[in-house]
């Protein structure tokens, strides 16, 4: 028996007056099985929406290697002292208890595509009718010579939220006045384009809050320009004058090596020293996407613009940071938006529900200082096989403080919304 909440009733009525809340089985023999790999903004949202909207008609399994998930988004606010670690850490309990999702904790290490089967590290094998892959990113460690997984224990990347984020926070909080920070941001394309610069803002906020006047933050960027650059640089001049120095490749001439023990980054121009190094290496799709042959030369996964369906395998959808989503940036908001499209698509294909035309959206908020948040956002649609921006907004220079404060409040509301989408 399918129960229908009032909330579901509206969406069901929109979808189909005929199949009122009782999805039609196209496969008569058994419940269709959907396996979702990765419990972040893409995967958890997709699993949740599929389970909720299919109301038991689809068997949904979510694989993630942890029972808890610390969100990368808002982890900069944790660094800045605006959020506790607990407040950005969530569990999958409600997805299991209230939506009947089967949570499998462990690492998915391979996909036997011929057999439509996901293989887990502990030997478990999970068959699927559709696989939704949301594995996030993996690091190209040697993109910064001298950096490695081992080195990240001294100079954290903190680009996957969890212990790395806590390590960076501990090192930031331990700095004394006069000790410096050096950040090496990643080259494009990478997870969350404005985030390195929001992070610098939050680190500066912490240093200034402690009354430090002699510590500096140097950014040795492999990119000639970065997201919301004018807004960040204006904000840095206003809030942290003389504290933050951004140096592009035209000046530093290339990053030659990093020595995490010595706290030094050597560039063609000079060697920059810091008591705290934050090295964020180049990135590509999560390891399982590489192993399964779902990536192209870019290291990311090509997908169809209208459905996020893998161009390498028609039974697999790839969403989030691992996918090549045209004009969309790699962000939690984007992953969540793609997850909604894919959940609808998979539900339609497996149960006969109406499939709506894909429409995607994204907004990235960045906090520069207390109540001073800037944003960039856009709406996207598939056009001629590519996801393109159809409308966009971005904060302007010298905006009114009330507008910037409203941006921050908007971001708080978004966090509540997306985590409800992910964790029920």
């Amino acid at each position: 028996m399918t129960r229908l909440t009032r909330r579901q009733f509206g969406s069901v009525a929109l979808v189909s007056a005929v199949a009122l809340g009782v999805p039609v089985y196209l496969r008569a023999q058994a419940k269709p099985r959907v396996v979702v790999v990765g419990g972040g903004a893409g995967g958890a949202t997709a699993a949740h929406f599929l389970a909720r909207d299919s109301a038991g008609a689809i068997d949904v399994t979510l694989i993630d290697n942890s029972d808890v998930h610390t969100t990368c988004f808002f982890s900069n606010l944790y660094l800045g002292g605006y959020r506790s670690f607990d407040s950005i850490t969530h569990t999958y309990g409600r997805l299991e208890a209230e939506y009947g999702i089967t949570k499998r904790t462990g690492r998915a290490i391979a996909i036997e595509r011929d057999a439509n089967t996901v293989v887990m590290e502990d030997g478990r094998r999970l068959e699927y009718d559709r696989l939704i892959l949301s594995p996030g990113i993996s690091f190209i460690w040697d993109s910064v010579p001298g950096y490695s997984r081992e080195a990240s224990k001294i100079a954290p990347h903190a680009w996957k939220a969890g212990p790395q984020t806590q390590l960076l926070k501990a090192k930031l909080d331990a700095l004394e006045d006069g000790q410096n920070i050096v950040m090496v941001p990643p080259p494009n394309p990478y997870r969350c384009p404005p985030a390195p610069y929001e992070r610098v803002s939050m680190m500066a906020h912490v240093l200034r809050s402690k009354g430090y006047r002699n510590s500096t933050i140097t950014i040795l960027d492999p990119k000639e320009k970065f997201s919301k650059q004018g807004l960040f640089q204006e904000g840095w001049e206003n809030h942290y004058p003389g504290m933050i120095e951004w140096i592009g490749p035209g000046i530093h001439g290339g990053i030659l090596s990093v020595d995490v023990e010595a706290g030094a980054v050597e560039t063609d121009f000079d060697t920059f020293e810091g008591a705290l190094l934050n090295i964020i290496p180049a990135q590509r799709a999560g390891g399982i996407a590489q192993v399964a042959g779902l990536t192209d030369d870019s290291g990311y996964c090509p997908v169809d613009a209208d459905s996020m369906r893998s161009r390498m395998d028609r039974n697999i959808h790839v969403i989030g940071d691992a996918a090549i989503a045209g004009a969309m940036p790699k962000s939690a908001f984007a992953a969540n938006s793609q997850a909604r499209v894919v959940a609808n698509h998979v539900l339609g294909e497996l149960t006969g529900w109406k499939i709506f035309p894909a429409h995607y959206s994204n907004t990235c908020w960045s906090l520069i200082d207390a109540d001073d948040a800037v944003k960039v956002g856009a709406e996207y649609e598939p056009r001629d096989g590519a996801i393109v921006s159809i409308h966009s907004v971005i904060s302007q220079l010298q905006e009114d403080a009330s507008l910037r404060k409203a941006n921050y409040e908007e971001a708080l509301g978004w966090y509540a919304g997306i985590t409800a989408d992910m964790f029920g």
Binding site: S215, T216, P241, G242, E245, I251, G253, F269
Partner: protein, 108 residues
């Protein structure tokens, strides 16, 4: 704020008659005098107003800087070297402070 830190790149060696590339960067806010603080009061101008480069006591490059120049001024220029010696770089601040840096080069 932290004291301005000059950084310089000069080749360690060159052949006589070589044209070498010199790069200099100094961390400095270059406060233009045009901005206002949160209370609406003008923030006083404080910029690096002059940069010079000398080689063995002889001036090889000099530049006046104006308020429109961005923070952390960067210079890249060429010099012809005929003999071993030392480059001396000097940045003069509006407040009278002088920041300097020296780099030796061996000419073979």
């Amino acid at each position: 704020m932290a004291a301005p830190k000059p950084r310089v790149k000069v080749p360690k060696t060159a052949s006589a008659g070589d044209i070498i590339t010199i790069k200099t960067l100094i961390s400095h806010t270059m406060e233009s005098g045009q901005r206002k603080d949160k209370d609406g009061k003008p923030i006083p101008r404080k910029i690096i107003n002059k940069f010079t480069c000398e080689f063995n006591g002889q001036k090889v490059f000099e530049c006046d800087l104006d308020p429109a120049i961005s923070a952390n001024p960067f210079f890249e220029f060429n010099a012809k070297v005929n003999e071993s010696g030392a480059f001396k770089f000097t940045w003069v601040d509006d407040d009278g402070s002088v920041y300097s840096s020296e780099s030796k080069i061996e000419v073979k």
